[in-house]
């Protein structure tokens, strides 16, 4: 079974059913399948081969879903890149993966042009029109500035490719098998450089199957997703929607919660995935006049939901099942708390999901019993293949398991269990910050800060925040004579980091506190006088 089969099978069974609602567009399964097939044929005709990486740098849109499915149908590997990723990191990711092609909105062309010269493997740029573009093209894509003849005509509009392959509505011959890679998902690591998590078709099908099993999804489900598809939690809403033959309502953001709630009502939504930041915003609103008769479940992951939120969410949606979950990109999802347990154990993220085994170990890898804090280990078909071209980092997290030859995932997260085996999150073994449900590597932000010519020292820490869960805070010391302001620092960061990584605040200090071995003492940064 391969990931694109989710769409193919559902399209065969329910061709006229609405698969996707996006803005005022409603796309049936047959339309989605045929469009994806046309693009798959186009990709293959343009030289995209089995196993080639293709980046998708789009907002939540019909085109993003078509692109993902087409890439898989062509036997290639898709890579979602956050729409707010800046040029430097985009170049890093494209080069690290040696992506052969990218799908981007036409208005992003200037950004792409800045990393043009540094991405020799990129042969094909597919441009989508921005939502407000008229049928008239604003301007043709610029030629590449280099003199490589292969790369001169590498820019083409998506629409044009689809027209060229208007008759290729049947799926291409399958080239990949289920242990081939389906996706590379870049995730923040403690080293600062993002790592590509290699997920096979088998990994993704296994995860989607387990999750849709415990959510008890049916073809009648309508899932509303506001999370970016570059976030695996958002991506899986689409994959699972297609798998179950349901309908996915894709929104671009949660910036206007009332609009999203209105959509929830209009589209008779049954499933609504949340991150704690969204529930914090919802709980600040007066929702008494709303009633969501169709809503069957809400889910939370990305970071632990405070118990207080759970209690209030339960009051807000008394008839709705609330699933508290935990996971990491390396295996997609680890655990879920059965909704009937949420009132009894609001602090728990439950147990391993179906077709998966989880346990805690001490520092020597010995299995631990209830009540003792240890590292969580995951065993299952959902566990990634490894980090892209990082064998040492891979060996650090994928270690020998129970059966000879098998590898299990050491999550780096500390947990304890109660007598019945329910999991309680205790903390992380590294200093990764969870802000708005997404992982922020302090090192990655610090690297950007150190690139500023007037910054002498920098440290990034997570501070508790009502809305963000953790807010990203930068503590910096200026070089002699510098008059750098907070705004200067933030502007520097905003030009180089994804939105969710940009610090919420900057504190200036004369010097940063150090530990006895000379490293910046992050614990010492909490408190202490600023200058």
């Amino acid at each position: 079974m391969q990931v694109e089969s989710f769409l193919e099978l559902s399209a065969r069974q329910w061709p006229d059913k609405i698969a996707l609602v996006c803005g005022d567009r409603r796309v049936t399964y047959a339309e989605l399948e045929q469009t994806a097939n046309r693009l798959a044929h186009a990709l293959m005709a343009e030289g995209v081969g089995r196993g080639d990486r293709v980046a998708v740098h789009l907002e939540n849109s019909v085109e993003a879903v078509v692109a993902v499915m087409a890439i898989l149908k062509a036997g290639a590997v898709f890579m979602m890149v956050n729409p707010t990723t800046k040029a430097e990191k985009l170049a890093y990711v494209l080069n690290n993966s040696r992506a052969r092609a990218i799908v981007v909105p036409a208005r992003k062309m200037p950004v792409l042009e800045t990393c043009w010269a540094e991405t020799p493997h990129l042969k094909l740029v597919i441009l989508t029109q921005s939502a407000d573009a008229t049928k008239q093209r604003a301007s043709p894509p610029a030629k590449r500035p280099d003199h490589n003849p292969l790369r001169q005509d590498g820019c083409v509009y998506l629409e044009e490719l689809l027209q060229r392959h208007a008759d290729d509505t049947q799926p291409p011959q399958k080239r990949a098998i289920d242990i081939d890679l389906a996706a590379l998902i870049y995730t923040s690591g403690s080293t600062g450089n993002p790592k590509g998590v290699m997920l096979t078709h088998l990994n993704m099908v296994a995860a989607a199957t387990s999750i849709t099993t415990y959510l008890e999804n049916t073809p009648d489900d309508v899932i509303l997703n506001v999370l970016p598809l570059s976030f695996d939690y958002g991506l899986y809403q689409v994959l699972m929607g297609l798998k179950i033959g349901g309908t996915v309502v894709l929104e671009r953001s949660f910036a206007y919660p009332r609009v999203v709630l209105q959509r929830l009502l209009e589209e008779k939504v049954t499933g609504f995935p949340l991150v704690p930041t969204m529930s914090a915003i919802l709980l600040q609103m007066d929702l008494r006049k709303y009633d969501f008769p169709h809503l069957r479940y809400v889910t939370n992951t990305g970071a632990a939901l405070p118990t207080e939120h759970i209690v209030r969410l339960r009051r807000l949606f008394p008839k709705v099942k609330v699933y508290s979950m935990y996971g990491l990109t390396e295996c997609k999802r680890v655990s879920y708390l059965p909704p009937d347990q949420i009132d009894a154990r609001p602090g728990s993220v439950g147990k391993g999901m179906p077709n998966e085994e989880v346990y805690l170990v001490d520092d020597d890898g010995r299995r631990l019993g209830p009540g003792v804090v240890g590292q969580l280990v995951v065993r299952g078909s959902n566990v990634m293949k490894g980090y892209w071209e990082l064998p040492e980092e891979t060996d650090r997290v994928l270690k020998p398991g129970l059966l000879s030859g098998e590898k299990v995932l050491y999550t780096g997260d500390l947990f304890r269990t109660d007598e019945e085996g329910y999991l309680y999150f205790v903390g992380r073994r590294d200093d990764i910050i969870k802000s708005r449900g997404e992982k922020v590597s302090p090192k990655e932000v610090e690297n950007v800060l150190y690139a500023h010519p007037e910054i002498a020292e920098a440290a990034v820490v997570g501070v508790p925040d009502e809305i963000f869960g953790q807010a990203v805070k930068a503590v910096v010391s200026r070089k002699n004579g510098s008059r750098l302001t907070e705004q200067d620092v933030l502007r520097h960061c905003a030009g180089r980091l994804e939105d969710f990584m940009v610090p919420q605040s900057v504190e200036f200090r004369a010097v940063l506190p150090k530990t006895s071995n000379g490293k910046i003492d992050k614990r010492g940064l909490i408190g202490g006088a600023s200058v």
Binding site: P83, T84, S130, A131, D132, R252, S253, F254, A255, Y256, P257, R258, V259, T277, I281, M285, D286, I467, Q487, D488, L490, R491, A494, G495, D499
Partner: protein, 94 residues
């Protein structure tokens, strides 16, 4: 450009772009261009409430009122119509 539009531009420039120049047409979507996100919208609302002494009701938190300079100017104008404090600024509008 009227006074409301220019003070909105200044606010957006200082708070969302950290002083960077703003390439934004009055009709363009702030959300679409990645200028605001969910917390950005709340900051924008706090700003216009303070600056124009209006109260933005929950129901009014929609893109039609807030998602472009044009929409904001129209929305603030309508809210200010009956407010003496705001009329002063409105009179300066061209």
């Amino acid at each position: 450009m009227n006074h409301i539009a220019s003070s909105l531009r200044q606010f957006i420039r200082e708070n969302f772009l950290f002083g960077q120049d703003l390439a934004l047409a009055d009709h363009e979507s702030l959300l679409e261009l990645g200028i605001v996100d969910s917390t950005g919208v709340l900051e924008l609302v706090t700003f216009i409430e303070d600056r124009y002494r209006i109260t933005v009701e929950d129901e009014e938190l929609v893109p039609d009122n807030l998602d472009s300079i044009d929409n904001l100017v129209r929305f603030i104008g309508a809210k200010c119509q009956y407010s003496p404090v705001l009329n002063k600024e409105m009179r300066h509008a061209v």
